[in-house]
């Protein structure tokens, strides 16, 4: 199935790139969504089987693949609205759709890959397609954002490659040369710790560019700001999850060696710094899209804190990235409507949103409640579990510091969002504000509701899949 999927999706991307006819574009995009859904279904019903020898439908991969398949439908729908509203040349439009399809395909394949070099190859393809999306507007700022993204990602991907080389050195001591995760876990007791340590440092640093964590997070923030908002939604949800998969799968290997505590320390430091930096910028930032991107940095920091704490934290971390993907993408989708009303990204020129687009304002309010993990939202559950795991791991000082930082983030985020919702903007001429159909917000309500449902009342299969994903980790 993965073979059919990859060939089909790559040819759809090529056709979208060459095609200039609108009707055919719709058909091709529809075909792609069907193919994506089919892969998710097939993967779900064939759990734990291996396809094409480099792809395994394991629980973590299938869980994130399903998340991606759900998000891809509104992503393409909102992309269509976006491109209708902001007329772009035919060529730019074709490149945009082709890049979205290529990005989604590469991310899906990366989730399912069971070999570290295969994840690496697909991560490289995501850089290529994401750069086409960021450059969509073809102006000076977009170029700056694209250049920074491409450069940082190129260096990060080289780091991952160096890490893989060190890993193969480490594996030579175990008398094996198969770099699949299964074999690595099986041989984890024989790996050479010195090379494994170097490998972990390089691979972790490399994948943080995709995950959006300290140290390589900077390029991702610029990318999410400059890419069109529907593409930004993909970059700040499913693409970050790919970085998580890369780190997590390798972390499982390291966790089964004596280096477990050291790796937790490395991850913990990077995670705490991420939350700290997110706080600093959230207080300062005036650009709404960047604000959402920094909120993503904060959430990834929390996820990694959960991983570093261990115990229930593993479960909470995986729950958190799934829910975060739904919430953050819906906020980014909402941003396209906000921009259509005010034609500005700056908080200074935006306000009183309830008056102009009630449904959209509701999404923004609910999205804010979800993103700050206030009780009715699903993220409340996962964040609570992360804090519990930190408490159980006796990291009280760290926990208090993180809670203080989170309070500041909620204050800063709330200040901006409430201004957007209720305080009238200065010098805003509302004579020709477009009327936005409430139906356009339907998909965003759906995503937010899904996040709440999965957090508060998770179905048994969902819980089981998360438990299967963390099965190989020691307690």
């Amino acid at each position: 199935m993965i073979g059919i999927y990859l060939i089909g999706a790559f040819s759809i991307a090529l056709a979208l790139f060459l095609n200039r006819n609108k009707a055919i574009t719709f058909i091709l995009l529809g075909l792609f969504l069907i193919l994506q859904g089919a892969l998710a279904f097939y993967a779900y019903f064939n759990l734990q089987t291996t396809d094409w020898s480099y792809f395994t439908y394991d629980s973590l991969g299938v869980l994130l693949l399903t998340t991606l398949s759900i998000i891809s439908v509104p992503a393409i729908f909102h992309s269509h609205i976006y491109l209708e509203d902001q007329p772009a040349p035919q060529e730019a439009r074709a490149i945009y759709y082709a890049a979205v399809v290529l990005l989604l395909t590469a991310i899906s394949a990366g989730y399912l890959a069971n070999h570290i070099a295969v994840i690496w190859i697909f991560t490289e393809i995501t850089t290529l397609s994401a750069s086409a999306l960021i450059y969509h507007h073809r102006n000076k700022l977009a170029l700056e954002g694209t250049w920074k993204y491409v450069f940082i990602c190129a260096i990060s991907i080289t780091f991952v490659f160096i890490g893989i080389l060190f890993l193969s050195l480490s594996l030579e001591h175990a008398g094996s040369d198969d770099l699949s995760f299964k074999n690595l876990v099986a041989n984890s007791s024989n790996l050479n710790p010195f090379w494994l340590r170097l490998a972990f440092l390089f691979i972790f640093t490399g994948f943080t560019a995709k995950l959006g964590l300290v140290p390589m997070f900077t390029a991702g923030i610029d990318a999410k700001d400059k890419a069109p908002a529907p593409a930004g939604a993909l970059l700040s949800s499913v693409l970050m999850n790919l970085g998580f998969v890369g780190i997590f799968r390798f972390y499982v290997v390291v966790a089964n060696t004596p280096l477990h505590h050291w790796a937790n320390l490395v991850i913990g430091i990077a995670a705490f710094l991420s939350v700290f930096i997110a706080t600093v910028y959230m207080i300062k930032v005036k650009n709404i899209k960047r604000m959402m991107a920094y909120s993503g940095l904060e959430h990834m920091g929390l996820v990694m804190l959960g991983i570093a704490a261990g115990g229930i934290g593993y479960y909470a971390a995986i729950l958190h990235i799934v829910l975060h993907a739904f919430v953050k993408s819906s906020l980014f989708f909402q941003f396209t409507q906000l921009y259509r009303v005010f034609q500005s990204k700056s908080i200074y020129y935006v306000g009183n949103y309830f008056k102009y687009n009630t449904a959209g304002a509701m999404v923004l309010l609910l999205g804010f409640i979800s993103a700050t993990a206030m009780p009715p939202s699903g993220l409340f559950v996962s964040e609570f579990l992360i804090f519990r795991s930190m408490f159980e791991a006796h990291q009280i000082v760290l926990l208090v510091a993180v809670l203080l930082l989170l309070t500041m983030i909620i204050w800063a985020f709330g200040k901006s969002i409430l201004k957007i919702l209720f305080i009238p903007p200065v010098e805003f001429d509302d004579s020709n504000v477009p009327v936005i159909s409430p139906w356009e917000s339907a998909s965003q309500f759906f995503l937010l509701a899904l996040a709440a449902y999965l957090g508060l009342n998770p179905p048994a299969e969902f819980v089981q899949m998360i438990k299967d994903s963390i099965m190989l980790l020691p307690n």
Binding site: T127, L128, K140, W147, I155, T158, H173
Partner: protein
């Protein structure tokens, strides 16, 4: 013989640290490509036509002909000045590069491993850090790309140290890496030349948070 070549490789790093003109950088990069080819050639246990063709493509065609020529074209097309304009004087650069090499030698002496030839490790790590140092201290965007290419050469040396028989996957990985990165970097570098008057990192600071 391989040791001599690898030491020559390190000397090229020193030379780059004190070189002033952009074209010199490109020539040194091309020379590094040739050095890498000879190293790989001497390391080969058996001559397999496919493998040889791939290595030839990777080192000679790509690293020493195509990339430097393309970069020279970019230089010329965008009227980039020929000076490299480092933030730090060349003397300091030379000292820092020397320090990097010394530190990596000390680090390599800590490693007790029969699977690894130490000199490869030293050369790989020193070119990695020299490349990063180049990126951090040069003003022009094109020198960032050159720093990146130095890192790539270091990674290539490391991959030689790791897999003597060079598994196909590693080989293909390197190809993909060079191809994709240089292609995108090159294309955008060209575009940047069109949009910004003088290619200088200080102009790339418009994306801010306030």
């Amino acid at each position: 013989m391989i040791d001599v070549l690898l030491i020559t490789f390190i000397i090229t790093l020193f030379y780059m640290a004190i070189a002033n003109r952009m074209l010199t950088y490109l020539k040194v990069l091309a020379f590094q490509g040739v050095l890498l080819f000879v190293v790989v050639f001497l390391q080969l246990k058996e001559i397999n036509p496919v493998n040889l063709a791939l290595i030839l493509l990777e080192t000679i065609v790509f690293k020493s002909v195509a990339v430097p020529l393309f970069m020279a074209y970019v230089l010329k097309r965008n009227n980039i000045t020929r000076e490299s304009e480092p933030f730090l004087p060349n003397f300091v650069s030379l000292i820092i590069t020397t320090a990097i090499v010394v530190v990596t030698i000390l680090l390599a002496n800590q490693v007790k491993d029969t699977h690894l030839d130490k000199i490869f490790f030293v050369v790989a790590l020193s070119s990695l850090f020299t490349g990063l140092y180049f990126i951090a201290t040069r003003r022009k965007i094109i020198t960032h790309v050159i720093g990146y290419l130095i890192i790539e050469n270091g990674v290539f040396v490391l991959s030689l140290a790791v897999g003597n028989e060079m598994p196909m996957l590693v080989n293909l990985g390197i190809m993909l890496d060079i191809f994709a990165s240089v292609l995108i970097l090159g294309i955008f570098l060209n575009k940047i030349g069109d949009v910004f008057k003088d290619i200088d990192v200080n102009q790339l600071s418009n994306l801010k948070d306030y």
